[in-house]
């Protein structure tokens, strides 16, 4: 295909023109976000790309085409579910990437085993201003007073809304804003009205066991009640207290009342929402741009799309959030010029933080947040305060297994009809075992 030929030619020219430059290096980038080489393999301008996968692919292309050092970034992608297993494995099997994406919730596992390169001095050298990061982001990227990662975004859970369907159910105020429930009771009540009026599901959400979207919702609801599922010091779990029970009971009720289809997986839930078969999809910030583009493009039945914060249903506003960050995994055998190239790439990513925030993610740079371009992005007015209400799980190791343990017990509530208390007790015992391991003396 001519596209990749052009790309090869381009790579060749780059190599020829800059190959002689001292310190040009080829570095490995490992990431999730999907593979869209077919659509964006030849896009060299990130501003022309859309969606997480498209923008990161184009960013890498743009870096390869324009960077002064003549560095080349080659990409290895992994599926979301397998990514950390693969990244972990590279430390054992010896093809450690030079740059890798990492969630802040996962970073403690790596930091505690000294597997990441401290970045503070490197950032200083490269002129990356850590003071420009919003405090939550900087905190996410730091451990033991050292910066270990370049924060790239904050991502939170949102309610994505089909306004036309909400209007049909009578849930649109006179000023055009959508009326959202303020309590679990109202939520269920509105859901019933909605389904009566529209004949569609009130909620679409990933309900199988791959993503755990409802675990994020559950965490948010517990935080809204002023409680937490995990103690802040990460040594104990509180999954079967009254707050957790209230949240779990409410979530089970959503399914029991038929307000959501428990059979939907992630693509299925998206399909349902885009096809106009659901009023609200509970999903992250990462899809705002993509839903918006599809709704505006007219290629899907969804036409009038709005994104909002998860409403305060159980008290104060609070919502689950995590952070994508870039790290340089520790590798004793890495050549200095490769490390230099890695830092140059991180600098480039940081400079283009705005492009990434177009996905719908919240920018981590105060200067971007304050910029007019950012304010002009669609739907940002509704979610401008999301980073203030965002809550992250406490810094503890083995967050992934904790998450998975909660998820599988939790899903049993709507998939096999388990009682909330039983599901929570089970999750509690699993998480306690995991925490005991995570907090081992060594």
């Amino acid at each position: 295909m001519h596209r990749s030929k052009a790309l090869a030619a381009l790579a060749l020219t780059t190599a020829l023109t800059t190959g002689g430059a001292a310190g040009a290096a080829e570095i490995q980038l490992m990431r999730f976000f999907g593979d869209c080489q077919n659509d964006y393999g030849s896009v060299n301008d990130a501003s022309e790309a859309n969606g997480e996968c498209g923008i990161i692919t184009a960013l890498v292309n743009e870096f390869n085409a324009t960077n002064q050092g003549g560095h080349t970034v080659t990409v290895q992608t992994a599926e979301w579910g397998a990514y950390y297993d693969l990244l972990t494995a590279t430390f054992q099997t010896g093809n450690i990437p030079d740059v890798a994406v990492m969630h802040s919730s996962v970073m403690p596992d790596f930091v505690s085993r000294d597997l990441l390169t401290p970045l503070g001095p490197l950032f200083q050298e490269a002129g990356i201003d850590t003071a420009d990061f919003v405090p939550a982001a900087l905190q996410n990227a730091s451990a033991n007073d050292e910066v270990y990662a370049l924060p790239f975004d904050l991502h939170a859970l949102l309610f994505h809304i089909n306004v036309d369907l909400m209007e049909q159910a009578g849930f649109v105020n006179e000023d055009g804003t959508v009326r959202l429930p303020t309590s679990p009771e109202e939520f269920i009540e509105m859901g019933k009205q909605f389904e009566e009026a529209t004949g569609q599901n009130f909620i679409a959400v990933e309900s199988q066991s791959a993503e755990g979207m409802m675990v994020r919702f559950f965490n948010s609801l517990v935080w809204q009640q002023g409680s937490t599922t995990l103690a802040d010091d990460g040594t104990s779990a509180n999954l079967n207290g009254p707050e957790a029970l209230a949240a779990a009971t409410f979530i089970k009720q959503i399914y029991d009342e038929g307000l959501a289809d428990p059979g939907l997986d992630y693509p299925g839930a998206e399909q349902a929402f885009l096809n106009g078969q659901a009023g609200i999809i509970i999903n992250g910030t990462w899809v705002v741009d993509s839903y918006n583009a599809q709704a505006e493009g007219g290629s899907v039945p969804l036409q009038n799309y709005v994104a909002t914060n998860v409403p305060a249903l159980m008290g104060e506003e609070a919502v689950w959030a995590d952070s994508h960050m870039w790290v340089i995994p520790r590798d004793e055998s890495r050549a200095p010029e490769e490390q230099e190239a890695a830092v140059a790439f991180l600098t480039f990513l940081n400079d283009n933080n705005f492009e990434w925030s177009r996905t719908g993610h919240l920018s981590v740079r105060q200067s971007v947040i304050d910029s007019p371009e950012f304010a002009a992005l669609p739907h940002r007015a509704n979610i401008s305060n999301t980073s203030q209400i965002a809550r992250a799980v406490p810094t503890t190791q083995n967050q992934r297994s904790i998450y998975n343990a909660i998820m599988s017990d939790f899903n049993a509530m709507w998939l096999t009809g388990a009682e909330p208390q039983a599901a929570l007790d089970s999750a509690q015992s699993q998480v306690e075992r995991i925490l005991r391991r995570a907090n081992r003396g060594g």
């Binding site: 579910g81 494995a89 010896g94 399909q271």
Partner: protein, 280 residues
């Protein structure tokens, strides 16, 4: 069963055969469907996946596949690993099988029992320690690392031993009188005789190696070192399933071609070999 039989029995036979053929067609249907999907444009598949005839027809999925160069690369890895493993298993098993069948040595029985006990050790009991060992040796992400753990297969030795035992002694004794060395006897007389057994063992090893999943999944983490099996697993999640369905199907078909061809060529050895390994 060939003697004269009543009309009822004959019709019964025919009915049975017809049902069998019907089941066979149903059996094959998923494969035909997948091949058909691999030959349809992705845009069409997004609307509907139904149908067994690739209309409209396109080879674009396969063209894209070859363009990406990853799948051919995985194919080469799989071939290297499967062929290498097969050869090693054949060498190691036939040598040891011959020793057990024909040679006298101290503790023969004890060593034999030790080997047979190995039949009981499943891959899963050793893959974690093996992974740690290979990590400390720093040999993950090599073809050797993908082959080695499957080279010591007691069943292969057992099979070869059974075969060599069935070879009449007289054939060797003439050579023994000529003072030929054991290895010459093994190489010149026994091995040529054991081609059917070697073929069977080789085929099963090859299929097993080709389809191995758990070990390559943990050992080959560099996309350049993936075998077809692991590579396909990685793109199943990676390609957006809805958009690239045809491409995913094309890669599955493409990756299966070598093993299917091998099967079609050698299929009679497989059934014959099973008969032998059943060890009657």
């Amino acid at each position: 069963m060939t003697a004269a039989r009543s009309g009822w029995a004959l019709w019964g036979d025919r009915l049975l055969l017809a049902v069998t053929v019907l089941v066979a067609i149903l059996w094959l249907l998923p494969v035909i469907w997948v091949v058909a999907m691999s030959l349809k444009p992705n845009a069409v598949l997004q609307q509907s996946t139904w149908g067994f005839i690739p209309m409209p027809f396109t080879l674009e999925n396969y063209a894209n596949l070859l363009q990406l160069a990853t799948v051919p690369r995985w194919l080469v890895n799989s071939l290297i690993v499967a062929v290498g493993m097969t050869l090693l298993v054949l060498v190691v098993s036939s040598l040891a099988g011959y020793a057990f069948a024909r040679l006298q040595f101290p503790f023969k029985r004890a060593i034999f029992v030790l080997m047979i006990a190995g039949l009981m050790i499943p891959e899963q009991a050793v893959f974690l320690p093996l992974h740690q060992m290979f990590a400390s040796w720093g040999i993950h992400n090599t073809h050797a690392a993908l082959m080695m753990p499957r080279v010591a297969v007691p069943i292969g030795v057992f099979l070869m031993m059974q075969f060599f035992r069935a070879v009449p002694r007289e054939l060797e004794e003439a050579a023994e009188l000529d003072h030929a060395s054991r290895f010459t006897i093994f190489w010149r007389i026994m091995l040529p005789l054991s081609v059917p057994a070697l073929t069977t063992l080789g085929l099963f090893t090859f299929i097993h190696a080709w389809n191995d999943f758990l070990w390559p999944l943990v050992s080959a983490t560099d996309a350049d070192m993936y075998t077809v099996t692991v590579g396909l697993a990685s793109i199943q999640g990676n390609f957006a399933f809805t958009e690239g369905l045809g491409s995913v199907m094309a890669s599955a078909v493409f990756a299966s071609l070598p093993i299917v061809l091998l099967f079609l060529i050698f299929q009679r050895f497989i059934v014959a070999g099973v008969a032998m390994s059943a060890g009657k």
